[in-house]
């Protein structure tokens, strides 16, 4: 296989993102997959996007608009 490059967008590894690591992934055109150079994650674009939705689980109030900031 030839050397890997960057995809059309610069996806980060969703698995590393979950441990607060921003790691750019590389794209292997022959296998149409992104892979992480630090951990063992690899997946196509569809899988990356699905996993990116999963990482948002921690943001329980992401969609909420707050109007009160104290507990008085």
């Amino acid at each position: 296989m030839a050397q890997a490059g960057k995809g059309k967008l610069n996806y980060r590894c969703p698995s590393c993102f979950m441990r607060d690591l921003d790691i750019d992934m590389f794209y292997q055109k022959e296998t149409d997959e992104f892979y992480c150079i630090r951990c063992q994650y690899r997946g196509n674009e569809k899988d990356v996007l699905e996993k990116n939705e999963m990482v948002r689980f921690r943001y329980g109030a992401m969609a909420k608009r707050y109007t009160k900031f104290d507990f008085d």
Binding site: G5, K6, L9, N10, Y11, R12, F17, D20, L21, D22, I23, D24, R38, L49, N52, E53, V55, R56, R58, Y59, G60, A61, M62, A63, K64, R65, Y66, T67, F69, D70, F71, D72
Partner: protein, 612 residues
């Protein structure tokens, strides 16, 4: 009158950070590439256009590279005339062909150069600015500006009155997020504007003699809970940082979190005599035409416009005042006294936990109280020491500009949950018939009030349940302006058995450092004092302790950071103690135990002083 002020800052950075590596992947590095320069200027123009579209004035921080670009200079002049934008000078954005040829280095962070180079670069950049514009700037900045740098700038260019001088909590957490490739650390500073001292730019000046002569502003207004726990670069008033954190709906491209963050900062006026502040400073690299990570350019641009639009709407509603940096410095000098603290009772607005923190900052300390841990102090920076800490090549701290902590729950365990050792925290334990409960496990909420010069945090009462006794306890934490003290009162509101007697152990486990890794504790002195009687030990990792009934004070002197920290108690039955740590757990403990009964109130004070 309540005032919410925003500083919007743009810089024409001809070689945006990140952009060269991202847009140029697979090409040899060439910071003079025409495509890169054109794109950079386009981004700056877009940012300016968005601010003006929504009726906001900006501070244009010219970079060194942009001073060689006629179009960038022309835009700055025009926008100054037309919109009242301030033309200022950034010490960011140094890299360009001219800079590389002269300094023969790829370093670009002004605070990490040698002092000789710092002076030379400042002179070059300020000189070039004067040549172009015919005056010296009133505002400058970088991601961090160390005290020696600020002092030099102020001495050589006295027109400077405002500077961007720190990124809040950009220390080991940011380093880890960048896969340990980011060698610059600047934890431990204020989150909102302050007057830096001449000795250490993190530590606010206590008086005119310590005043560095500038008003410092942070780079961005950061989430005081999310940034403390996680990567600082995801949770600030920087729309593209919010995208970096993936805090948006991928279907609708909505990001209510950005507005919640701005609104919570607005809400802080309640704790700061009617004043609140926001800063937005997005470097052009974040609006890369090729997109940034998962976000296409269209989303990057939308989020920037939405940010400006929201500030613009607030302005239209009379809820926001836009100022240039120099205007803000004048306002701040008029509004604030040296000893007036900055306070923030902060709520989780992202994770849905309802956790609550209280941040306090004055010339003597920065402290964080965690209501989710019963009002424990989980971060403590002893600004009273005004630690001189030169930074950059040729100093002991080439990359580490952080102000050292005595307590830091994320780096040094906090309330301890593992099988051996201790973590840094200031809390209390209650003991009864062989059972022990730490207040760290009593989740509660706090209410802020101000009584004269004292800021008071009154916590909702908590129940401590023993096998056959329930104790209702309330904690009240007071910060008296200018005292360098934190007073913690424990009020026993009710006991299920009014005749019972409970032991309370007020304690502080501490160490010192700027990172997760332990420093040498040798030479720290621990002592207990009663009248003329003093017992002390010098730290040798031997797990020793001293106990003294009726002690006036227990104290630790940490010569490595020129800090003395002490505790005293008003409880009649109080027994003071100090504990040395050991190699596996290199901490020390100061504390008091006392017997308490129903309806009793006892107080303990924690004091910070300079020791040299």
């Amino acid at each position: 009158m309540d005032k919410f002020i925003v500083n919007i800052i743009h810089r024409p950075e001809m070689v945006p950070e990140y952009a060269e590596k991202v847009t140029g992947h697979g090409k040899e590095e060439d910071i003079g590439r025409k495509a890169l320069l054109t794109e950079s200027l386009d981004i700056f123009k877009f940012q300016q256009e968005m601010a003006h579209k929504y009726g906001l004035k900006t501070t244009i921080q010219m970079t060194y590279a942009s001073l060689f670009n006629e179009e960038a200079v022309q835009i700055a002049k025009e926008h100054h005339e037309k919109y009242g934008d301030e033309i200022a000078l950034s010490l960011l954005g140094l890299p360009c062909t001219e800079f590389r040829e002269k300094y023969k280095t790829k370093d670009f962070c002004i605070w990490m150069f040698s002092m000789e180079d710092k002076k030379s670069i400042v002179d070059d950049v300020f000189g070039k600015f004067y040549d172009i514009f015919g005056f010296y700037p009133e505002s400058t900045g970088s991601y961090y500006m160390d005290a020696d740098l600020i002092n030099y700038v102020k001495e050589a260019y006295p027109s400077v009155k405002c500077a961007v001088a720190t990124c809040w909590e950009e220390g080991p957490k940011a380093y880890h997020t960048c896969n340990n490739s980011w060698y610059t650390f600047m934890d431990g500073g204020p989150w909102n504007p302050w007057i830096p001292s001449k000795q250490n730019s993190h530590a606010p000046a206590a008086n005119e003699a310590e005043d560095s002569g500038i008003v410092a502003i942070p780079h961005l207004s950061r989430d005081l809970l999310a940034c403390y726990d996680g990567n600082g670069s995801n949770f600030g008033t920087h729309p593209q940082n919010v995208l970096r954190g993936m805090i948006y709906d991928t279907e609708t491209w909505d990001y209510p979190y950005l507005y919640n963050l701005i609104d919570q900062y607005r809400d802080l006026e309640k704790y700061n005599n009617g004043y609140a502040y926001n800063m937005m400073f997005v470097g052009p690299g974040w609006l890369n035409k090729m997109g940034r990570w998962e976000a296409p350019y269209e989303l990057l641009a939308k989020s920037y416009e939405d940010g400006m639009k929201y500030y613009g709407e607030l302005k239209e509603q009379g809820k926001l005042t836009d100022m240039t940096m120099a205007e803000f410095a004048d306002y701040y000098r008029q509004k604030k006294t040296y000893t007036e603290p900055e306070c923030a009772l902060w709520r989780d607005i992202l994770y849905g936990s309802d956790k609550q923190l209280f941040w306090y900052c004055d010339p003597y300390m920065r402290a964080c109280v965690n209501m989710d841990q019963g009002g424990a102090i989980v971060d403590l920076r002893p600004y009273a020491a005004k630690l001189e800490w030169p930074v950059g090549i040729g100093t002991k701290h080439v990359t580490d500009a952080s102000y050292p902590f005595l307590i830091q729950e994320k780096y040094r365990a906090g309330y301890f949950t593992h099988y051996a050792g201790e973590g840094t925290v200031r809390s209390a334990k209650l003991k009864y018939n062989g059972e022990e409960v730490d207040l760290c496990l009593c989740r509660t909420k706090a209410h802020f009030s101000q009584e004269g010069n004292t800021r008071v945090l009154t916590l909702d009462p908590v129940d401590i349940e023993f096998y056959d006794l329930t104790v209702k306890l309330q904690s009240v934490i007071s910060f008296e302006e200018g005292s360098s003290d934190i007073k913690i009162e424990r009020r026993i509101l009710e006991m299920s058995n009014p005749e019972a007697q409970v032991e309370i152990n007020e304690y502080m486990v501490a160490c010192y450092g700027t990172t997760e890794y332990s420093e040498d504790m040798t030479g720290i002195t621990l002592s207990a004092k009663k009248g003329e009687e003093v017992q002390s030990l010098s730290y040798e990792y031997k797990c020793r302790d001293i106990e003294m009934a009726g002690a006036d004070e227990v104290r630790a002197i940490v010569p490595q950071i020129e800090t003395a920290v002490s505790m005293r108690s008003n409880a009649e039955t109080a027994v003071g103690y100090v504990k040395e740590g050991y190699a596996f757990s290199p901490m020390f403990t100061l504390g008091y135990t006392a017997q308490v009964k129903d309806k009793e109130v006892i107080a303990t004070w924690l004091k910070l002083e300079k020791a040299n």
